[in-house]
C-alpha cells in the first residue's frame, strides 16, 4: 500500500473517503448519490413548479424550456414531480433501512453471541421471514389495511431484517473467539459492554456496505408498489406513480415513462457503484486486488 509515503495519518473516515474518490466508479457513485440527496433535500427551492399544482390547459406537453420533462395528464410539471419524488423515495428508504439495521443488529448480535438455543430460534425466525417473497407479502398486507406509505415502510423493513441480521450474526460468531474479546472477558467486562463497545464497531463497516447496496432495492420496491397503486396515494409525487401515469398514457406520450425511469436508474446505479467501492475499501482483503 502507498500509505508509507503519505504526509500524515488520516482519520478512519478520511481514509475511506481517500480510497473511495480514487476509484472512478466509487467517485461516480458518490457524485450521483450526493446529487440525488441534494435534490431531494432542496426540492422546495430547486423544483421550478409546485409538484401537485394542476394546469390542465398545458397537459401532456413534450419537453420545452418551460417544462424540462414535459407535463402529465393534469398539466403538472414532470421535472418538479421527479425532484419531489426523490423525497418520497428517501422518506421510505431511510426509516426502512434504519429500522432493519437496528433490529438486524440487535437480533444478529444476540444470535451470534448468545446461547445455542437462542441462536437456532433467531435463525429460524430469519428463515421464516425470508420465505415470503417481499412483493407478494407486501401486497397481502396492503390488501388488508389499504395502501399507505407507512405500510410500505413497515413491510419492507420487516422483510429486510434477516438480510442484516444474518451478516451481523456471522460476523459476531467469528469475532466472539477473537483474542481481544477473550481478553476483555477475562478482565471482567459485561456481555452488554462487549457487545456495544467491542463488537458493534467491528460490524458497522460491512453493514454500511450492505445498506448502500440495499437502498436501490428499497427505493425500487417503493416505486414498484406505488406503480401498482399499492404505495403512496395520489397526488403525492413518487417515481412509481409517475411511471404508472406514463404506463397508462404510453401510446400518447413517452415522456412520463422516460422521466419516471431515469431517477430510478440513476439511484440504483449510483448506490450500487458506491456500495461496490465502499466494500473494496472496508474489506481490506479485497482492496487493491482489482478483482471483485
Amino acid at each position: 500500500m502507498t500509505d508509507a509515503s503519505l504526509p500524515k495519518p488520516r482519520s478512519e473516515l478520511g481514509e475511506i473517503l481517500y480510497h473511495l474518490v480514487r476509484d472512478p466508479l466509487g467517485l461516480a457513485g458518490l457524485i450521483i448519490v450526493l446529487a440525488i440527496l441534494a435534490s431531494a433535500v432542496l426540492a422546495p427551492w430547486i423544483a421550478p413548479y409546485d409538484p401537485i399544482a394542476l394546469n390542465v390547459p398545458d397537459r401532456l406537453q413534450g419537453p420545452s424550456a418551460a417544462h424540462l420533462m414535459g407535463t402529465d395528464q393534469l398539466g403538472r410539471d414532470t421535472f418538479s414531480r421527479v425532484i419531489w419524488g426523490g423525497r418520497v423515495a428517501l422518506q421510505v428508504a431511510l426509516p426502512t433501512i434504519g429500522g432493519a439495521i437496528f433490529f438486524g443488529l440487535l437480533l444478529g448480535m444476540i444470535a451470534g453471541y448468545g446461547p445455542r438455543w437462542l441462536d437456532n430460534l433467531i435463525v429460524l425466525l430469519f428463515d421464516t421471514i425470508r420465505s415470503f417473497p417481499t412483493v407478494m407479502f407486501a401486497l397481502a398486507v396492503v390488501a388488508l389495511v389499504g395502501p399507505s406509505l407507512n405500510t410500505v415502510i413497515l413491510v419492507i423493513m420487516v422483510t429486510s431484517i434477516p438480510t442484516y441480521g444474518r451478516v451481523v450474526r456471522t460476523l459476531t460468531q467469528s469475532l466472539k473467539e477473537a483474542e481481544f474479546i477473550t481478553a476483555e472477558k477475562s478482565l471482567g467486562a459485561s456481555t452488554p459492554r462487549i457487545m456495544a463497545v467491542h463488537l458493534l464497531p467491528n460490524v458497522l463497516g460491512p453493514l454500511a456496505v450492505l445498506a448502500a447496496m440495499d437502498i436501490p432495492t428499497v427505493v425500487g420496491l417503493e416505486a414498484g408498489l406505488s406503480f401498482l397503486g399499492m404505495g403512496v396515494k395520489p397526488p403525492t409525487p413518487s417515481w412509481g406513480s409517475l411511471l404508472n401515469d406514463g404506463y397508462n398514457l404510453i401510446r400518447n406520450t413517452p415522456w412520463l415513462i422516460i422521466a419516471g425511469g431515469i431517477p430510478l436508474i440513476l439511484t440504483t446505479v449510483g448506490f450500487t457503484f458506491l456500495g461496490e467501492a465502499l466494500r473494496d475499501v472496508v474489506d481490506p482483503k479485497l482492496r487493491g486486488k482489482g478483482g471483485k
Binding site: 428463515d127 407478494m136 425500487g220 401498482l228 430510478l264
Partner: protein, 314 residues
C-alpha cells in the same frame, strides 16, 4: 448425504408451517377484517354471520389454524367469493404462466451470465473483462419493472417488434415464445450481470486451488481444465443464488405480468386485491411462499450433490 437431504426437507417443512401460521396470524392481527372488506359497508349482520361461518371465522383461533392446515393438506384453500370455484383451482391455473416466465428468464440469463463470467475470469483485466464488470454492476440493481416499461415503450409501442399484451394463443408455441421475449428480457437482465460477476469471482478462486494446479502440471489442455474441472465448482454459488433468488424472481414476475398484461400469479393477486377477492389473494401468496421455500431447499440439495466438499462432510 441422505441424512442431509432429509434434514433440509424437515427444516423446509418447519419453515413452511411457521410461515403459513404467521401469515394467518397477521391476517388476524391487522385492523380491518376480511369479512367487512369483502362484503363492503352495506352488509347485513346475517350476511356477515353466514360468510364468517363459511370461512370458519367464528371458531377459536387455534381451531382455525388447525382447520386451515388440514384443508391445505387436502389441497383445499377455500372457495372464491365471486365465482364459487375452489381457490386452489384458480391459483393453480395461473402458476404455470409465472413458472414458465421465471424459468425462461433465469435460463437465458444464466447461460449468458456463465459465459460472460468464464470469459472475464480467463481474460482477467482485459478490456472485455472491465466492460463486462462495469455493465454488470450497472444493470444489477435496476428494477425489473423499469426495464419492463422501457422495453415495452421501445420494442412494443414504438418499434412494434414484439406484442405488448398477453401470453399468446394457447397451443401456438411460436406465438407464446414471441410474447415471452420482452418479459423475460426484463426479468433476466439484472441476473446476467449478477451471475457473470459471481461466476467470475468463484472461477478465479477455483483456478487457484490445488487440484487445478495438479491438472495443469499434468499438462491437460486449458480448455479441459476450465470447462471440465473449474466450471463444475465455479457454478455452485450460482445454483445457490438462483434458489435463494426465487423470491426476487417472483417479485419481478409480479411487475412484469402487470406491465405486459400477462396472466400469472402476479396479475391474479393484483386483480384480486382490486376486486377485494380475499381468499384468492391469500391463496396466491401462500403458493408463492411454497414455491420459494421449495426452490431454496432444492438449491441446497443440488448444491450438496454437486459439491464433493459438502458431500464428503456433514
Amino acid at each position: 448425504m441422505l441424512s442431509f437431504i432429509l434434514k433440509r426437507i424437515g427444516l423446509a417443512a418447519v419453515i413452511t408451517v411457521l410461515a403459513v401460521s404467521s401469515l394467518f396470524l397477521i391476517v388476524h392481527m391487522i385492523p380491518g377484517d376480511p369479512v367487512s372488506t369483502m362484503l363492503g359497508p352495506r352488509a347485513t349482520p346475517e350476511m356477515r354471520a353466514a360468510l364468517e361461518a363459511r370461512m370458519g371465522l367464528d371458531q377459536p383461533l387455534v381451531v382455525q389454524i388447525g382447520l386451515f392446515f388440514a384443508n391445505m393438506l387436502r389441497g383445499d384453500l377455500g372457495m372464491d367469493v365471486f365465482s364459487n370455484r375452489p381457490v386452489s383451482e384458480i391459483v393453480l391455473g395461473q402458476v404455470p404462466y409465472t413458472l414458465v416466465l421465471i424459468l425462461v428468464s433465469i435460463t437465458w440469463s444464466a447461460v449468458l451470465g456463465i459465459a460472460l463470467g468464464c470469459y472475464s475470469a480467463i481474460h482477467r483485466n482485459s478490456l472485455g473483462d472491465r466492460l463486462t464488470g462495469i455493465l454488470s454492476v450497472s444493470v444489477i440493481a435496476v428494477p425489473a419493472f423499469v426495464v419492463s416499461l422501457y422495453s415495452l415503450l421501445i420494442f412494443a409501442v414504438k418499434l412494434q417488434w414484439f406484442p405488448a399484451i398477453g401470453a399468446g394463443d394457447a397451443g401456438n408455441w411460436g406465438d407464446q415464445l414471441h410474447h415471452l421475449v420482452l418479459p423475460s428480457l426484463a426479468i433476466g437482465l439484472s441476473w446476467v450481470g449478477y451471475i457473470a460477476r459471481l461466476v467470475r469471482a468463484s472461477m478465479l478462486e477455483v483456478m487457484g486451488e490445488g487440484h487445478i494446479r495438479t491438472a495443469r502440471a499434468f499438462g491437460l489442455p486449458e480448455r479441459q481444465i476450465v470447462f471440465g474441472y473449474a466450471l463444475r465448482l465455479a457454478i455452485l454459488p450460482t445454483v445457490t443464488v438462483i434458489g435463494v433468488g426465487m423470491g426476487f424472481l417472483l417479485s419481478a414476475a409480479v411487475f412484469t405480468e402487470i406491465v405486459f398484461s400477462r396472466p400469472g400469479l402476479g396479475k391474479l393477486v393484483i386483480d384480486s386485491i382490486t376486486t377485494r377477492n380475499y381468499p384468492v389473494v391469500m391463496g396466491s401468496v401462500l403458493f408463492s411462499t411454497l414455491i420459494f421455500v421449495a426452490s431454496t431447499t432444492l438449491a441446497d440439495i443440488v448444491n450438496a450433490i454437486l459439491d464433493p466438499r459438502i458431500r464428503a462432510g456433514k
